[in-house]
Symmetry: C2
Subunit: 333 residues, 2 copies
């Protein structure tokens, strides 16, 4: 294993967020399952947008949010995701590079527009997402640069990659290159409905050793093992993954590995504004802890801190330096 150029390289659906604060009636009217991510086609995107209030836009995408969080902590980072060379794609590329992330995926010059997600934030702070994949549909194995993968300490992949048709091949290719180079591969299960769509494949990725580290929230874990028995599901996760991290919102997180089980409390917040990016930023902090070999408890605290920052404002990316925030809170950076 040679020295890593990047601490973490993330691969995901490159998605531009269009965020709006709304009420539960809007979700009901459009039959949206609250708190989840639904894939939408262009016709539904048009119908939803037409009915939405004035919005705020910013770059998003689950793994992209995580990698931007890692960069904010001070990690060396890279991102792979497909945009189109349109106005939104140019803003997307600007934002991720301006965050300090290496981003060299060649944009599409034809085909659908850069992907976007209509994020409806209800007064309880919950976010409900509607994703038009757009150009992200065209991420393919050709977008995977073996040298960049082999030069990354961790490769972080989102379960959402199972939605676009060729992205799973890119995912598997990247994981194989990473393991060949003795790197570690992490996966987030992304969304309970996503787990429902690809349960067997996700379990096969874990059991077959394609992924080493698995991030899930309670709903995703419950969907993965089709049980509401949290402790039972946790036990299964411990068998299926080298390292498993389960987030439980205000109850903090549980880390399971061969070393045992570690629980870490959530970080206190003043006001929940928008949960968009909570899981993404938790993963950023936790992975940063792994990069710094800070131990699971410190990693959990770093994850909790980053999640707490992002849920206290609109949007899925940090608004302050997470490095400075961690220092202020006496956490390792």
């Amino acid at each position: 294993m040679t020295d890593a150029k990047f601490d973490v390289l993330a691969i995901g659906n490159a998605i531009f967020d269009v965020l709006v604060q709304t009420d539960d009636g809007f979700l009901a009217r459009h039959e949206m399952p609250k708190g989840s991510m639904s894939l939408i086609d262009e016709a539904r995107a048009t119908a939803i947008y037409r009915d939405m209030g004035p919005a705020t836009e910013m770059s998003g995408g689950s793994a992209a949010n995580t990698i931007v969080g890692l960069a904010s902590f001070g990690a060396r980072t890279a991102y792979v995701g497909k945009i189109k060379d349109d106005q939104i794609g140019k803003m997307y590329a600007h934002d991720i590079r301006a965050a300090g992330v290496a981003f060299d995926t060649v944009p599409a010059t034809a085909g659908p527009a850069t992907g976007c997600c209509y994020v409806l934030v209800t007064p309880d702070g919950e976010r409900t997402m509607n994703t038009y994949l757009g150009a992200a549909q065209n991420l393919s194995p050709a977008d995977i640069d073996p040298a960049a993968i082999a030069a990354s300490r961790f490769v972080y992949l989102e379960g959402y990659l199972w939605d676009p048709k060729d992205a799973k091949d890119a995912f598997v290719k990247a994981a194989a290159i990473a393991h060949e180079a003795e790197r570690e591969v992490a996966l987030t299960l992304s969304d309970a409905f996503c787990v429902g769509r690809y349960r067997d494949e996700f379990l096969e990725l874990m059991r077959g050793g394609t992924v080493d580290v698995v991030f899930a929230n309670e709903a995703e874990l419950s969907s993965l093992y089709q049980t509401s028995d949290f402790d039972g599901a946790l036990k299964q996760l411990r068998e299926d993954a080298t390292l498993g991290i389960v987030t439980r919102s205000e109850k903090g997180c549980v880390v399971v590995s061969n070393d045992g089980v570690v629980s870490v409390p959530a970080f206190p917040i003043s006001k929940l504004v928008d949960t968009t990016g909570a899981g993404d930023l938790f993963a950023a902090g936790f992975l940063f802890g792994l990069v710094r070999q800070a131990g699971y408890e410190a990693a959990g605290k770093l994850g909790a801190l980053a999640a707490a920052e992002v849920i206290q404002h609109i949007g899925a990316r940090p608004q302050v330096s997470l490095k400075q925030l961690a220092e202020k809170n006496g956490l390792p950076v």
Copy 2:
């Protein structure tokens, strides 16, 4: 004078805001006059954007922010401004219509992209704006619908319209139609540097009766009369405009008219975050007071309330219902 269909119709440069929190070093490095609006060409736009951090985007434009504020108070509103039919233009049109504003200006199908403004917000909350006019350059008298103007109780115009080459003709055409229909015409002086560019023309608009109501902040008033003597400038404004409103940041505003001089304090705030839109939203509240014939003092309070809301978050448009906010504060709606 027939019944008005719209309480206020606003005409301005349709500009999409790209906002970023930065430090004073950025302004110094790019030689930006802090707190002002500078016009930039495509080359400079590229250079600034390349150096900017990750951004948040939302629709902006001075008079557009004002009209959205008026709609949020519950006024019947319309907007005239030139976008292109590109991705950003589509978001722009969505946002203003979703706010309840009638917006029927035909988008450009060729020529420069929808205009945008790089807004740099420094830690003191001050905003420094760099505007690439883009499609807004092509607003022309043909975009003025005489019926819509004649059906509007107030026509509100921004001084920035003097920058694009044909927009001033649109401005003058609209003012003439409005007066023909016995409506009132209001103007915001927009920016001290803008006043510097068009001082004589703005004075001529006021003295010649093209505009009736004039909004200015202290710096713009000082630039208009080329004096640092506030009381002297105020006296001149009282002679030159039927109604003049001067905003003084945390010192509130002063209203001058034939009826005398009225001072209204600023509305208290918890934390100054971003002054972008402060003047625009003040004008929204004040105009709403005029629409409701609430008297200058109540109008000033409505303006102060709307300005206080917008400077406590990032971005130039209200994040809450101004109607509800006014009701909560015992102000007329």
